[in-house]
Amino acid sequence: MGFLSPIFLLAGLAVAVPLILHLFHRQDAKRMVFPALQYLLRTEKEHARTIRFRQLLLLILRMAAIVLLVAAGARPFLRGGGGVHDPTATVLIVDNSMSSGLIRGGARVLDLLKAVALRSIDRASDEDRVWLIRAGEPWGPAITGSRADLSAAVLETEATDARGDLGIALERAVVLTSGSGLAAAEIHLISDLQASAFEGTGSTGEAGSVPVVVFDQGAGDRENAFLDSLLIGGGLPPLANQRTRLSVRVAGDADSADVPLRLVVANRIRGAATGGVNNSALLPIGPFAAGNVEGHVETDPDDLRGDDRRFFAFRVRAAPTLAISGSAPFFLSEAIPVLVDAGRIRPAAVRDAEILVSVAGAGMTEAGTAGRAIVVLPPNDPALLPGLNRALTSEGIPWRYEPTAARGEAGITRWNGPVDLDEVRVRSHYTLIPGGDGPNQGVLASLSSGDPWLVEGTTPRGPYLLFASDLDEESTNLPVTAALMPLMEWTVSRWGDTQGGTTSIRDPSGTLHPVDATQPFTATPAAGLYEFLAGDSTIEMIALNAPRQESLLLPIETSVLRSLLPGPATMVTDSARWTRAVFSAGQGPEIWRWLLVAAALVLIAESLVAASGPTADKSRSGARPGLQDTASD
């Protein structure tokens, strides 16, 4: 409860008046001659307790009347009671991420969240500033406008296949409220409160900065069975006319039954299997002619349908031509023929090769095909580094090799490629130094010392890949590990014939989005296949799938949630109580009228008690007890 005119409470000192009168006034009472005092003495004696009680009752009633009147004058209000409130900067975070599409009890979770958001909007006043953040569309700006506009925006909100990062949404909300210019602020977090939606979230604002009203359904959802990941060819798409295998992993409750899997390529079912929960299933796929291949693996739909299908797209191309220039390390020279035999590469002359493996910069300066890719291996002899660096400079590659004083073995870190390099140890290497003041970009893998080990980049002449160490057995144990061949295959296959000049992108719904080179393209609310078009030609396809975090329906613990919020949290579990919980940073309904009514009732009671004597007298006045009627006839 609060007061709009708290200064009026000073009038509450008047409550001392009846108290003082009660204690002291009777000493100054008017003196009156009254011969029939003996009757009164008898009365006083017999009714002393009643009289004291009555006087105390009168005192209490009079003090209560003053307190009520003073309180009414101070215009009290109840917080959170559904009345008016101070202008409040309010951000509604509506979680429309993929998990909000869950069907629970026959109703979609998002529909419940939208209903709650509409309650907030209904409670907002014209003096409030209200924004709507759709957590499932992190690329979208916060929506603001009139209450009608916001209501329409809420009603138009649909579940996306994107991840809702509530931590980021809360940070955005704090920024919005802080810049609103309004003294009161509030964040309404309307979400299914997945624990995964807060992964990586630290404190989202200055402690106690913005109160947060959280809609907490309190329903602990069981784990959801879903298609967790999908991998084609172990990470390497097949070349033309090659068969490969598709691996799909099913995740979910360990007690769940196996789920059926169907492989769909180009809208035709090309395979089927049964997937055990928390296991991977392999499905053969291919061969394909050169070109784009798209499809998906699906299972039977359950309550959360957004994760029951995983899309894939890859480009099937012919084996690239490769040439080695310079003295290749032994194991590399042995690995290349294996790849040739496997049809993964085709040997070619240096000037014709699409991929040039240059040892110590050899062959780099020779003319090659347009867009030729270069893989650079440093020499064993540091004395050859100046020549290598000159070759790099002439190719426009902004890196140079420098000898390093580091000794000892180092592991590979910062690597997220498809090849397992955990067992690889590097015994000697050079330091790769980026040219000029440019940022240390393009580092694919580093050593545990922090030095770059594998660097990629693109020059106008084509892409390049730089190793910080030679691939002989003295520099690294890579040649004697199982990672050599996959790494080589990955190295030579990572460059396709990607064409530039994308003019538009077609999303899974078929809508074309013109590509503006000045603006990033982030409107990817739906999982599926995105086609990159140059005119009418598809030059690349990308499959986007719902993030696995959205499939993890375990709600966050309340204590953890409170620690992550930017201010004091009010947890509301019942949507019907939401209206009373929001906009607490202001006054609720004013109750001065009720206090006046109460004061009036108290005053009436006081009058009745005070006048109880005269009232009774009127009722008896006709009786005149003791007057003998015998004399009146």
Binding site: H25, R26, Q27, A29, K30, R31, M32, V33, F34, P35, A36, L37, Q38, Y39, L40, L41, R42, T43, E44, E46, H47, T50, I51, R54, Q55, A610, A611, S612, G613, P614, A616, D617, R620, S621, R624, P625, G626, L627, Q628, T630, A631, S632, D633
Partner: protein
Amino acid sequence: MHSRPDLLDPQTLSQLGGVELIARQVVEGFIMGLHRSPHRGFSAEFAERRAYQPGDDLRHIDWRMFGRSDRYYVKQYEEETNLRAYLLVDVSTSMGWTSNPGTLPTKLWYAKHLAASLSLILLRQGDSVGMAAFHEEVVARMAPRGGARSWHELLARLSPLEAQGSTSAHTALRDIAVRLRRRGLVVLLSDLLVDPDTTRTALRFLKHQGHEVLVFHLIDPGERELPAAGDTRLFDPETGDELNVNIADVRSAYRDAVKDALAEWDRSLRPHGIDYVVVGTETPLSRALRFYLRKREHLG
């Protein structure tokens, strides 16, 4: 407005004049209202006959004369002085109080005028009248005697009395009891703000001696009902007691206490043959006179 003075309220009556004038007018009016001749009694000795007039008691019609003349005559007798009345007037300080000064007469005024009226009636009926005024002691006394001059003598004793001193009714009653040798009528005019037990005992003693006892309990309306006031310091002029009280707090209980006290007087006196009547000082004197008349008729 009433044309008969006996029916006037004391407030109006007090503006008519002194005790003598008022009492005479009251008695004249009162007797006129009774439709009886004030000048002849109906006691033992025959005096003469006169023609029957409406209102005459049928018991006094002379049926022999009716048989002779076919006319109604009533027999008249010489009045007989066969009752000795003694009026005891309380003149204590409390009797001088009125709840509405300037408008409502005091209890002493009422007592004086009631005593004067009663004595006039008694004397006109041939009775003898005596009086005594008392507070803690007897301050004025007149032995019972008859005749018109007695009334003036009584008025001369009664008129100058003023309220003073505390009340000791039982002292005065015992004094009277000692002095009254013949049985008679004792009329007490008091507000009875006295020690109840000793006063009752004294009254019962008088009754025991063979006297008829009539108690007029004079009470001011302000004693029945507390005044409209809040916190008040009430002062008893006789005892000097003071009491701080909120009138509203005790109003109802006080009213009950007065009622109980009056009932207690009635309950304690009537079984002993003592007539007790409460007379409010706001009521016309005729009420008390009527009560007396009834009592007198019972006495024969």
